[in-house]
Amino acid sequence: MADTISILDGSTFAVSDRRGDMEGGPGDDRGLFRDDTRFLSRWVLTIDGRRPNVLSIDDVHYFKAQLFMAVTSGTVYVDSNLSVMRRREIADGFVEVIELLNHEIEPIEVVVEVEAGADFADLFEVKDKLTKKGERYVRVEPDKLVLGYARETFVRETFITSSEPVELGEHGLRYRVRLPPQGRWSTELRVACVGGACTRPAPASTGRTGAPGARDLATDVQEFIDAAPKLACSWQPLQETYARSLIDLAALRFRSPLLPDHAMPAAGLPWFMAMFGRDSLITSFQALPFAPDLARTTLQVLAAMQARTDDAFRDAEPGKITHELRFGELTAFEERPHSPYYGSADATPLFLILLEEYERWTGDHALARVLEREARAAVRWIDEYGDRDQDGYVEYARRNVDTGLENQCWKDSWNSIAFADGTLAPLPRATCEIQGYVYDAKLRTARLARTVWNDAKWSDELEQSAEQLKQRFNRDFWIDQRGVFALALDGEKRKVDSLTSNIGHLLWSGIAEPDKAERCVRLLMGDKLYSGWGVRTMARGEGAYNPIGYHVGTVWPHDCSIIAWGLRRYGYRAEAARIARAMLEAAVFFRYRLPEAFAGYDREATRFPVEYPTACSPQAWASGAPLLLLRTLLGLEVEGERLTTDAAVPPPIDRVELLDIPGRWGLTDALGRSHGDLAA
């Protein structure tokens, strides 16, 4: 069970402990955040100096939570005479109602205090434990407590107001409460975040009916769920995980202050409630059969933010798709390059892949026509800038050597691209999966060029280029001695020989020749890579392997969903079904919400998937993973104007029905029945 409670709406989110208190600090993510800034780092409720104990928590909704608590006497022989309820809803900040119930037949008097403080840390400062450069201040005004921070013209403030008479002080709020016999008392506290990319007014009071806009949030999520296909199946893990995934994807939709009319998937709570090109693209791909509007918005926003100029600080070149956009202090003062930052080598081909998949699935020619210029610019980036040394492969090395990302593939931690002996590969690095994405992107773009943009000549050129890349790749990346594709070519064009999950992405893209693909499948399902819960990011036995290393041994659900879909592409139905089933069984241990990653220990050893300590949850592409796995089980593909089904459903799932699947056909249904020969 998680030891924190999180509520969120877009870039605003609040993380507390299970009492509802926030005691955030360096390296500790608790607090109220908006636009990558922590507007409240301390928020602690006491009654007569004691913290109430939690009895029960209702956090079913992503945007609000209720806590039922009691002030206990410290002994089991004396009942508590005072119940406490905290109801918190996210707004532009949050609104919290504190309610006390006196269970005595005599009146009681208590002192209710809420300690409040804000460190105004940039999320990067929280994560990296950095110190502030500006000045904090506190101002007690007649009607509110103001916590503030200023560095030159960069000003952020937190307004705290109360519906009931209150003593305001520099450290918080105090109420002297007299509760009548069996009576109740309550107050509504509003915490508003002020200042940011565009100034927004503090929320207007709505009386005691809840947070401003709260009804809209509830309606919004319900509409998202109602628009998605309906799942009926006999296996609870699939049913529950599907429902949870839809709710989490609805919750993680992100409207940035710069792009208020566009909701696209943010990456994950708490560290990545921001626009990430790669994450948004992959999540949109996973969710395409279920929520195609996510893909449409993602494509529109990323197209608008496509780099137009060369900018070494931001690792940008014309045609490159954005990696990450942030709004905090370090970005504002250009101590970080995220305004926006372009340090990913895979987002650009992934953009082309999603564009083609979206058009093929939805039949939305209009968007494809509108984005022709951006698609051409993306292909140009691949060939002219992505392939830095014109050796026929996209490779990366940051130009911003101070604050840019060293690894610009999805495994972006510092130690993820290593040789089998554990030594790091020198830069620039051409990772194998990026070459696969480029291959797939060119073939898909060729189809759009022929069918939508009426450019047969360019289509032929793209197909020829893709075919040449495939031949070259199968020659240059294959390691005969190990019988596996290299993880990467390093800066000296040496084959980086670690066995990793990246080879599964080569099946998704289709770049692997069939005989080599067959070998990849055996490795992916062998006990060095396959843990029993999923495919490890790095195989056990490799020099850099660590079952609790971020990208060097953990299991990532999104990675596994892509691998499973790739297995289906090459006809390995049973292997795909095995991964899908194991992943959904793992979800049960996470209350049906797959985390960003979990440990790579053997299933036989632990019997349950072991948590990775700092994994984001919910996380967008982890929430998208069950959707792509469901597509995999049903074998959903587009042929011409219709949806085809080629189900490979393993026991114990008896039957799967997916109703009202949206696409170019309107709405249609898919049905899958269990195959005994797919038993694990």
């Binding site: 710069l258 792009l259 014309p318 970005t331 504002a332 305004s339």
Partner: protein, 123 residues
């Protein structure tokens, strides 16, 4: 750096040279940005790679304004990034911030064109 020298030929936003410039980085972009400062204003119209700078009032998709002396001049000269200036509170914005995202990176190129045009024999 001849460009910087020519850039600094104008000291207020009102002195930024008007004119039409071709900026390939803004191909496909359409919109109008008004830069307003205490010492004047300038209107930047973008139409598929053609940029027009003019000291005339009119409707705009995005208005950037500031009270800080010289700040908008720094933006128009391409010496400051429009988005980070906005995040730092040096500039206020009203309107289509998506347009700002598209244009911000190309402002230095516009500035160079404008500065070059101010030189004898310029664009």
């Amino acid at each position: 750096m001849a460009e910087q020298t020519s850039n600094q030929a104008y000291e207020t936003i009102a002195q930024v040279p008007c004119g039409d410039y071709s900026v390939s980085a803004l191909a496909g972009v359409h919109g109008t940005i008004m830069f307003e400062a205490a010492d004047g204003f300038i209107r930047m119209s973008i139409d598929d790679g053609k940029v027009t700078l003019a000291h005339t009032a009119g409707a705009a998709d995005l208005v950037l304004r500031t009270r800080l002396p010289g700040e908008l001049l720094r933006l128009v000269r391409g010496e400051a990034n429009a988005l980070t200036a906005l995040l730092r509170g040096r500039v206020e914005a009203e309107g289509d911030l998506m347009l700002l995202m598209k244009v911000a990176g190309a402002i230095p190129e516009i500035a160079l064109r404008a500065a070059a045009s101010a030189q004898p024999g310029g664009e």
